[in-house]
Amino acid sequence: MAALDERRAGFQKYKDDVKNRGKPFFPYAMFHDTVMSLVVVCVIIGLACVWYFTSGENPDTCGGKDSCLLGPRYSEPADPGTTNFVPRPDWYFYFLFYLLRIFKWPNSVILGTVGIPTILLIILIALPFLDTRLERRLWRRPVAVIAAVLVVLSMGVLTYRGATAKEALAAEVKAAVPRWAARQGFTDNKDAVAGANLFAVSGCTSCHTYLGTGSSNQGAPDLSAEGAKGKPKTFYHDYIRDPSKFGNNVMPKFGFSDEQLNQLAAFLTSSKGPK
């Protein structure tokens, strides 16, 4: 195979050239490596110092007026009973986090959660076999350069959007409840209004949208016309209590009481779409 011979000859030439005209790793390259490593360690120590000295012992220190440059030391202790915490991953998963807003549960969410990351990983592993030319100069590799720029740009945009994605505050969402009730016509249904309030303050709108409020996330569906599907209250009661029993492994289990579950179910069944 001529191509293979050419590659071997090229590599042999590289080896000969390095042997004849290269410089020893120590001290030349090692000097650069050492300087760079020291910079890395200093940056890490610097980050740790800024993080520590701008935050306080109290997990609440970074809320509102006193801002920590690099976030709090820790948030409140884990509490499985909370109903209104907005999950956020570490920054390097933001791109994935934002990708999940684009795909809707249940039809295409697998694309966002598993499909795209798996495809990216396979392409990455296969790269040396997709691009087998020996050419290494950038201006002779237009496809590689354009692909790299596109990947970096899209990762950057997704990370930025994931970082700045605003989650509505519970109080703001709650203010919209009377409007919802009027548009859906359940103002007189006490259970449904209580459920709507619960829906508003429990962080449901971090993933679900309802009459234009909230942000679609992790592929969660819009619930404005959920009641129009004609499913019984018991269905929603059971579903919210443990979504995984219904094959929904994305939505977490929240610690709602039986009464709260009934109120949420009343709210959802009364949501037949705006009049």
Binding site: Y14, V18, F26, V40, L138, Q218, N249
Partner: protein, 279 residues
């Protein structure tokens, strides 16, 4: 080392000095005779690299440094951290607020993780732009991609350990996302949780993965990665004027007439006109 010392320069060493020197050299020789390690280290240090390697090519060793920082701070943290839902949060508070310099160790581990991930991406970008994943270095690229994946898994498993709200809820969503994968998904999710709920078993499981299994894999792969780097050599920049930069075949043989390594060689450059026809 001891054998090759030329004794041509007459100022005769005193008998005492000779004794001291041979005593110092003895352990090195002892080690070399039994392991060959000294020769290996010498080979590693004095192997040739292309004369025009670039600052960008320090990103790999910078990533290794970040990993070493993670390993050292991680070992110290493990001495104080208690992987149980009842005590994990308190032990993190204790480390951060009470233990001498505990804040520094935890802060370095926490932010070192981000630096490690960023450097892995930068290093990968450099390798991509230099075309350094091409023949014969394909295998090393694959090892690198596996290291990137394992590094991100370290991030995922480590995120739960403080057992605060951020950790808990992000991990619930993370595990649920794994659960959506076709066929294997539910099993992976079940395995990660260690049961139906996130709890004691999940935390100790994540702790074990985070500090034993995944770092073990990373260390093994880094060793392989470095072995391949030493075996195959460092690529020079694609714009290199050195012949070592041009892995395509030239008709003219490279000029090697007595120039010192690492210095500019106008004559050699002239003979190395790369017209690109060989690519």
């Amino acid at each position: 080392m001891a054998t090759a010392t030329p004794t041509t320069r007459p100022p005769k060493k005193s008998a005492r000095r000779q004794k001291v020197e041979s005593a110092l050299i003895y352990p090195v020789d002892w080690l070399e005779e039994r392991s060959g390690l000294v020769g290996g280290i010498k080979y590693f240090l004095f192997r040739k690299v292309p004369a025009d390697t670039n600052w960008m090519q320090t990103l790999g060793s910078a990533t290794l440094t970040a990993f070493i920082v993670q390993a050292v701070t991680g070992v110290i943290l493990a001495m104080y951290y208690q992987p149980h839902p009842d005590t994990a949060y308190q032990s993190i508070q204790h480390i951060t607020n009470d233990v001498t310099l505990g804040w520094l160790v935890r802060g370095m581990h926490r932010w070192g993780a981000s630096v490690f991930i960023i450097l892995m991406f930068f290093h990968m970008a450099r390798v991509f732009l230099f075309g350094a994943y091409k023949y014969p270095r394909e295998l090393n690229w694959i090892v690198g991609v596996m290291l990137l994946a394992l590094g991100m898994l370290e991030g995922f498993t480590g995120y739960l350990l403080p057992w605060d709200q951020t950790a808990y809820w992000a991990t619930i969503v993370g595990i649920n996302i794994n659960g959506t994968a076709p066929v294997l998904g539910p099993f992976i999710a079940q395995f990660l949780r260690g049961g139906a709920e996130i709890g004691t078993d999940t935390l100790s499981r994540f702790y074990s993965l985070h500090m034993l299994l995944i770092p073990g894999g990373i260390i093994g792969l880094i060793t392989l990665h470095l072995y391949l780097v030493v075996r195959l050599g460092v690529t020079s920049p694609p714009w290199s004027k050195e012949a070592a930069g041009a892995t395509w075949v030239d008709d003219e043989p490279p000029s090697t007439n007595g120039h010192r390594a690492g210095l500019t060689r106008p004559a050699a450059r002239a003979s190395l006109r790369r017209d690109g026809s060989g690519s």
